[in-house]
């Protein structure tokens, strides 16, 4: 029973977090001077009556307090408002369209960053050469400075322009007869046993997922290296050694102890991942929430921007909830 209660309480805590961000964005977008409709239209030459009609259509003529709560109530019903630029288009359906693409990119990026980060950290712990250790440690601290568009475009230059082996953007070559189910294309292709589509989707994924994965892999390098070194000097390893277990096998034992901090950290990485996803998507024309947000930014579509922020806030809240619960399950020391 304890765990269920813990999860419930922890889940309730997402609500104030989301509310704070909603309030912040609402204040920023609505209360600041300037008429949002004029900004979205990009012109001031519009008859007064037409402007008023537009405002009332979008509900912008109501008092701010009423707008604030109405939007909130509608949101809980799954109504995220209508686009200000593409008249009458419900934002919720746009987001449902785009979310799986971002999710797929994020999952693969985490996978890449685990492979790169844990891999290099493991090598750093295993190799006795102090220079290798220093390089891994330094890389772990500064790899985040790689500006995603700069790396992404350079990779496009090499793999698309010079080698011609990978596409520059998009998620799938259009010519294939392929029906999305979940919207996560690699998963859908596997479910339909469409190997050709799977590899095609993978080809589109490699560059963006590698770019994003590399940039966020730093903490994994340091985490793996430091924890493994710490454990190799600990009593547990001494005990193993006393039993005559060879050093190469000891590393495997030590590695198992590193998995707990890595799991925890993956949750903390999520907000970094989401920010990076926006840039990665723009660089690779990946049709996810990030590209959607940037599109809306270009057109100053305030209602859509507001909805995207709330969605991101919910995603961040949910991930930290999942991580906390996982952590409570893995580590018996955590009391709930």
């Amino acid at each position: 029973m304890g765990l269920v209660k813990y999860i419930a309480v922890r889940a309730l805590m997402i609500i104030p977090t989301v509310l704070i961000l909603y309030t912040l964005v609402f204040v920023i977008l609505r209360v600041l001077p300037g008429n949002p409709v004029l900004a979205a239209l990009g012109t001031k030459n519009i008859p007064e009556e037409q402007l008023k009609a537009l405002m009332s259509e979008l509900g912008l003529d109501k008092p701010l307090i009423q707008q604030y709560f109405e939007y909130l109530i509608n949101f809980t019903r799954g109504d995220m408002g209508k686009s200000m630029v593409v008249r009458g288009r419900p934002i919720a359906s746009d987001i449902i369209d785009k979310l799986p693409a971002t999710l797929e990119l994020s999952i693969w990026a985490i996978l890449f960053s685990l492979i790169i980060g844990v891999g290099l950290g493991y090598i750093g712990a295993r190799v006795q050469n102090p220079y290798v250790k220093t390089i891994v440690r330094l890389m772990g601290s500064i790899v985040f400075v790689i500006f995603i568009p700069a790396l992404g475009l350079s990779l496009q230059l090499v793999f698309s322009r010079y080698l011609g082996v990978l596409p520059t953007g998009g998620r799938l070559s259009v010519t294939m007869g392929f029906k999305p189910i979940t919207g996560i294309y690699t998963l859908d292709a596997l479910l339909q046993l469409n190997i050709q589509a799977f590899f095609d989707a993978l080809k589109h994924l490699v560059l963006p997922a590698f770019t994003l994965g590399l940039v966020i892999s730093g903490p994994y390098m340091r985490l793996t290296l430091n924890n493994m070194e710490e454990i190799m000097e600990s009593k547990i390893i001494e005990a193993y050694r006393a039993r005559g277990i060879r050093d190469s096998r000891l590393l495997r034992h030590a590695f198992r102890h590193v998995l707990v901090p890595i799991t925890t950290y993956t949750g903390l990485q999520f907000s970094l991942l989401m920010g990076g996803a926006v840039l990665t998507e723009t660089t690779f024309n990946w049709p996810g929430i990030g590209t959607y947000l940037v599109d809306k930014v270009m057109y100053r579509d305030y209602t859509a921007i507001q909805a995207v922020i709330i969605i991101f806030a919910i995603i961040v809240g949910l991930t930290s909830l999942i991580v906390d619960v996982l952590y409570a399950l893995i580590d018996p020391r955590v009391r709930y």
């Binding site: 961000l21 920023i28 985040f144």
Partner: protein, 279 residues
């Protein structure tokens, strides 16, 4: 925990990470200050045939409008450094002051502030910065404000945590028992003890701010053309990648990364100094 004094500054300078980082940053600052003398051409005017690869005449080539890319890089450092300096100064000052107050006073105010700051901190900073810049309207000063607001929690959380751990030390209790005013205790007896950690956060945050500025520029949220700006120039170079014209996007991209590396190295250097000295 030691306060910042001349000998610790000397030790920091001897650290090779700190030194390398400082040299990188100083080169860019030098470039920004003496741009008029360093840049061979005007950054905004047609100075040669368009889309020329790097040559002796145009060492980083020319863009699609026949402008010299090296000159644009040199002048572009001004916009970048100005925005980042303003942003980091504001967020550092506001975050530190709020952190000191919140941590020292405690109570309901502390709980409210902490919860708000934690919520903002947990949220992807780039996404928040984008929304803020849109709301404020695209301009360099608004971009600086947007970046500043986004990073206030970074300083707040660190300072507040440090204050909480120092607050119950005996010497603070004595100061309080002596009846010293709170402002004096906070400024004279607590603040000096957080300066080192503040330096680490400050340089790390500067690196973050550079990347955020570049990202905002990349989305067209800072300068208006033809103002030279690394992030925006990188964005324009994007269209020429498939034509094999790498120089338009590569040089601005490298400068963004290099400048951020400078600050990251300083942060790494100072934090290793702090941890090794504690041992």
């Amino acid at each position: 925990m030691m306060s910042l004094n001349s000998s610790s500054i000397y030790i920091a300078f001897k650290n090779r990470y700190v030194l390398t980082g400082l040299i990188i940053i100083l080169i860019f600052v030098f470039m920004a200050v003496f741009a008029d003398f360093i840049a061979p051409y005007s950054p905004v005017e047609y100075v040669g045939p368009p889309l020329q690869p790097p040559s002796r005449e145009y060492i980083m080539g020319t863009d699609n409008l026949g402008r010299d890319i090296f000159s644009r890089i040199v002048y572009g450092s001004r916009i970048m450094l100005t925005i980042v300096a303003i942003a980091v100064a504001i967020s550092g000052a506001v975050g530190t002051i709020l952190g000191l107050i919140s941590g020292y006073i405690g109570g309901i105010l502390d709980r409210l502030l902490s919860f708000t700051m934690d919520s903002i901190y947990a949220f992807p900073s780039l996404i928040l910065a984008i929304s803020l810049s849109v709301a404020l309207g695209p301009s360099p000063i608004n971009a600086a404000i947007a970046i500043a607001l986004v990073y206030i929690p970074t300083y707040f959380r660190m300072i507040r945590g440090q204050v909480l751990s120092i607050k119950n030390e005996t010497y603070i209790e004595i100061a309080r028992a002596l009846g010293l005013p709170s402002t004096r205790i906070v400024l004279r007896h607590i603040l000096p003890h957080v300066t080192k950690t503040l330096m680490v956060v400050f340089s790390m945050n500067s690196a973050d701010a550079i990347l955020t500025e570049a990202a905002l520029s990349f989305m067209g949220l800072t300068v208006q053309p033809p103002t030279p700006d690394w992030g925006f120039d990188l964005y324009k170079g994007r269209g020429f990648v498939l034509a094999g014209m790498w120089w338009i996007m590569l040089f601005p991209g490298l400068c963004i990364i290099l400048l951020a590396v400078g600050f990251a190295l300083i942060s790494e250097g100072i934090s290793t100094l702090i941890t090794t000295r504690k041992r």
